[in-house]
């Protein structure tokens, strides 16, 4: 959390992808509104969500800071406050609000935030396979079979009771595994942030960066498989 505070104090990182006010054609220096004619300025579609919300590309974000930024920008952009303005300004307000809402939704959730960052940073890790590793795949298949057996079995029978006990055990194991993944992800998030904070551009840091991203992508995709099978399991036995 500590390094986070340092970075969010630099809102000037928010760059608009145009330099001229759409209305008065003056050089724009204001953040969201033209300094000269005070018209709202469109947030560029090419802008990434981190930049849009004035946060650096880090994976640890203080939810309260993010929320207060979201509220601040909502007050700046929301169509409610543009009802008396020109049609152009209303269109910009609508577009900016929609983009802001997507940005907030994406960054608010740590997993979505990480997945989004992976998309942005793709480059070297783009061609990573997204199918589960063989051992996890085997495990899931086996569990699917047990689930099918249990569904087919007479609920009052001994077979069902045995299967249910087995499934309960599997559930505990899988949930522990989920927790391990969350912890591993959290560690990777921290590693990523530290690496970014150092801001070095050596071959070594580039390799380290790719390693972190690749590992993150692996865990995120495995996490999805485990999450789905756990949901399936919980729905079946409860």
């Amino acid at each position: 959390m500590d390094h986070q505070h340092r970075h969010s104090s630099s809102p000037r990182e928010l760059q608009m992808a145009r330099s001229m006010c759409w209305h008065c054609q003056s050089e724009v220096s204001g953040e969201y509104f033209c300094d000269r004619c005070v018209k709202v300025q469109p947030v560029s579609k090419e802008l990434d969500y981190f930049t849009c919300m004035g946060f650096p590309r880090r994976l640890t974000i203080d939810p309260r800071q993010l929320e207060s930024k979201f509220y601040e920008l909502s007050r700046a952009f929301h169509p409610d406050f543009f009802q008396n303005k020109s049609a152009e300004e209303q269109t910009i307000s609508l577009g900016n609000s929609a983009m802001l809402n997507t940005a907030y939704r994406t960054l608010r959730d740590p997993i979505q935030r990480a997945e989004y960052l992976l998309d942005l940073e793709a480059g070297a890790v783009k061609d990573i396979r997204t199918s589960p590793p063989a051992d996890l795949f085997e495990e899931i298949l086996e569990l699917q079979d047990t689930l099918d057996e249990y569904r087919a079995a007479d609920r009052a029978s001994d077979t069902a009771a045995t299967l249910c006990a087995k499934l309960q055990m599997e559930r505990t194991t899988l949930e522990r595994r989920q927790q391990d993944m969350e912890n591993a992800l959290q560690q990777l998030f921290t590693q990523w942030d530290i690496l970014q904070d150092r801001g070095e551009a050596t071959d070594q840091t580039r390799a380290e960066r790719d390693r972190i991203l690749k590992h993150m992508r692996d865990i995120l995709s495995n996490r999805t498989y485990v999450k789905n099978i756990v949901n399936d399991l919980v729905a079946t036995i409860s």
């Binding site: 007050r75 929301h78 169509p79 409610d80 008396n84 609508l94 929609a98 809402n101 997507t102």
Partner: protein, 606 residues
């Protein structure tokens, strides 16, 4: 900027409110009532709305429309199961229900527009200025077609609908304004025909909706129907009568069921009575609150599942909810309050009149839009997921439910066949896997330049605006050219139809005005006759006999004029009567003054 009013267009009652120096106020009608019953009657003397129309429910059921909100944005197939409960003839045209009333047919937005016009006139009379802009509320769980139909109704009524807002969120604005509440609140809104639950976070003037859920076909109407069905069954058993063959009595039994329900919110036991047709005497039935509750338990339970879903979507448990607010007339039922209290584990708020709080909130939102209030901001969500039909009839979600609006999403489309010149897109709303299980919103065809398969790239932007209404834009990524899209709504009026209805509404406006003048004159005449007769009884002995005779003559003349069709004649006879009864009025006034002074000390009088 011209004044914007806030309108609650309800299933049973509608209201109009405005912001009066920082305080939202509901505008009362000439009858001093705040609510306009959402009833429209086509009489031989023209169209009437509200309280006078309500009288026509039993007199002329086939031409009196109530609960029109249940039909907004619906096709006949959607409401098939309840058509039998309504006494008028339904047809369908272009996926939109039409009511056949006499010779003419009307769509639900047209009927709603008549109610809106009544509210517009009420506001204009009270404020002494022309009203052309409004904020109209809808149930949070209304889909795109239902919202669009509401917007159409506003246009037909000559109102620019600046914003459609959700009823529970409107209510939260009214509460927030009053109490400056902070924290997480749940708004439970059970109205005449719809149920909504919204979970909101209130912080520093921002009202952020976290999740919403509901049922747009669950409300007081359904409770009344259960009671009425019980009465109808017992009438069949006891009196050998099937009320279904008497549309007027069906309305009478429905209204008596409603009154019985309302009484049972205050007392533990009441007796319903109904005069039966064909000289079969009178039906009386004692009903206890316990009986009502066991009868309606199932319906009320149906509101709890959406509450749990909303909590789950907001990733909260009941313990996280700081306050619960009750909205809608049906929350007056003790059983509803009890079940809500049990679910959330806290006593719900109901300080503001549950019938009026939505209209008050709409007035607050209107004030925000006109720039009056700047410290409050509502961030609402879309209640249902928006998606498109993909290969194999599966719905692919584009914007998930409970996404903050305005919300946008982009999808890229291409072709599968060389030289293909169009791509058909089917937009859906709902939570089910298969396209056919969801609500079809609209279809449109993307125009594509003839190129080898897979080469064209058309980007389609789906944008849900702050009203919760979908806008679609398409852009050819190769040329950068935008294309306009003709979206054909699956269940809605086309633009040209709405235009025609607006035109019709102007054409008939003149007829409407004269019909209204007649109705109002008759109502006023009736009131004057009643009070004068009462005065004669009380003070006849105080005045000379020729004064009594003159008053009686003028009374008879007004009664005759009241049955005629000329409002000017009625008004003239009213003036005559007031003149003739003057000695009586003066005598009564003096008499009551004298009585009031008797036996009092001088110090009390001065």
């Amino acid at each position: 900027m011209a004044r914007i009013v806030g309108i609650d267009l309800g299933t049973t009652n509608s209201l109009v409110a405005y912001m009066d120096k920082g305080t939202p106020r509901v505008i009362a009608g000439r009858n001093e009532r705040n609510m306009v019953p959402s009833v429209v009657a086509m009489t031989d003397n023209g169209l009437i709305v509200g309280d006078p129309a309500k009288e026509h429910l039993t007199r002329n059921p086939a031409r009196t429309v109530y609960s029109v909100k249940r039909f907004m944005g619906k096709s006949l197939a959607d409401v098939q199961s309840e058509l039998a409960y309504f006494p008028y003839t339904f047809t369908e045209q272009g996926g939109v229900i039409r009511f056949k009333l006499g010779e003419k047919t009307y769509s639900p937005p047209q009927i709603s527009a008549m109610i809106l016009k009544e509210l517009k006139l009420r506001a204009e009379t009270h404020l002494g200025e022309s009203i052309t802009k409004a904020v109209i509320t809808v149930p949070a769980y209304f889909n795109d077609s239902q919202r669009q139909a509401t917007k159409d109704a506003g246009m037909i009524a000559g109102l620019e609908v600046l914003r459609i807002i959700n009823e529970p969120t409107a209510a939260s604005l009214a509460y927030g304004l009053q109490e400056k509440t902070q924290g997480t609140i749940a708004v439970y809104d059970l109205g005449g025909g719809t149920f909504d639950i919204s979970i909101l976070k209130l912080k520093n003037g921002i009202f952020e909706v976290l999740a919403t859920n509901g049922d747009t076909h669950l409300g007081g109407d359904d409770i009344d129907r259960l009671i009425a069905d019980l009465f109808i069954d017992e009438i069949r058993e006891r009196h050998g009568l099937d009320l279904h063959t008497y549309p007027d009595y069906m309305q009478a039994v429905r209204l008596e069921a409603e009154r019985t329900k309302i009484r049972l919110s205050d007392v533990l036991k009441t007796t319903a009575t109904l005069d039966l047709p064909d000289g079969k005497g009178r039906f009386t039935r004692e009903l206890t609150r316990d009986q009502l509750e066991s009868l309606t338990m199932g319906l009320i339970e149906r509101t709890l599942a959406p509450c749990r879903k909303a909590l789950k979507d907001a990733e909260l448990t009941p313990e996280h909810i700081d306050e619960v607010v009750l909205v809608g007339g049906s929350t007056r039922m003790p059983l509803v309050r009890q079940r809500v209290q049990e679910l959330f584990g806290k006593t719900p708020h109901c300080e503001l009149n549950p019938d009026e709080v939505v209209a008050l909130g709409a007035a607050v939102q209107a004030d925000i839009l006109s720039g009056g209030t700047t410290d409050m901001l509502l961030l609402d969500v879309t209640p249902l997921s928006l998606g498109i039909e993909t290969m194999g009839g599966v719905m692919s979600s584009v914007i998930r439910r409970n996404t903050t609006i305005p919300a946008g999403a982009k999808e890229m489309f291409t072709t599968y066949v060389d030289g293909q010149t169009g791509v058909d897109i089917h937009i859906l709303q709902g939570e089910r896997e298969l396209a056919k299980d969801n609500r079809s919103l609209a279809r449109f065809r993307l125009k594509v330049p003839p190129l080898p398969a897979g080469v064209p790239r058309i980007e389609v932007t789906f944008l849900i605006d702050a009203n919760g209404i979908l806008n679609v834009l398409a852009k050819d990524m190769r040329t950068g050219q935008s294309q306009s899209i003709e979206v054909k709504p699956s269940y809605g009026l086309s633009d040209s139809e709405v235009e025609q209805m607006i035109e019709d509404s102007f054409k008939f406006a003149a007829d409407d005005v004269s019909a209204r003048k007649l109705i109002e004159a008759r109502l006023d005449a009736g009131a004057l006759i009643t009070t004068t007769e009462k005065s004669l009884l009380e003070g006849g002995h105080l005045i000379a006999s020729d004064n009594i005779a003159a008053t009686r003559t003028a009374l008879a003349a007004l009664s005759a004029a009241k049955d005629g069709t000329d409002p000017r004649v009625i008004r003239a006879r009213m003036a005559d009567l007031e003149q003739a009864a003057k000695p009586l009025t003066v005598a009564l006034l003096n008499d009551s003054l004298m009585k009031g002074l008797q036996g009092k000390k001088v110090s009390e009088v001065t």
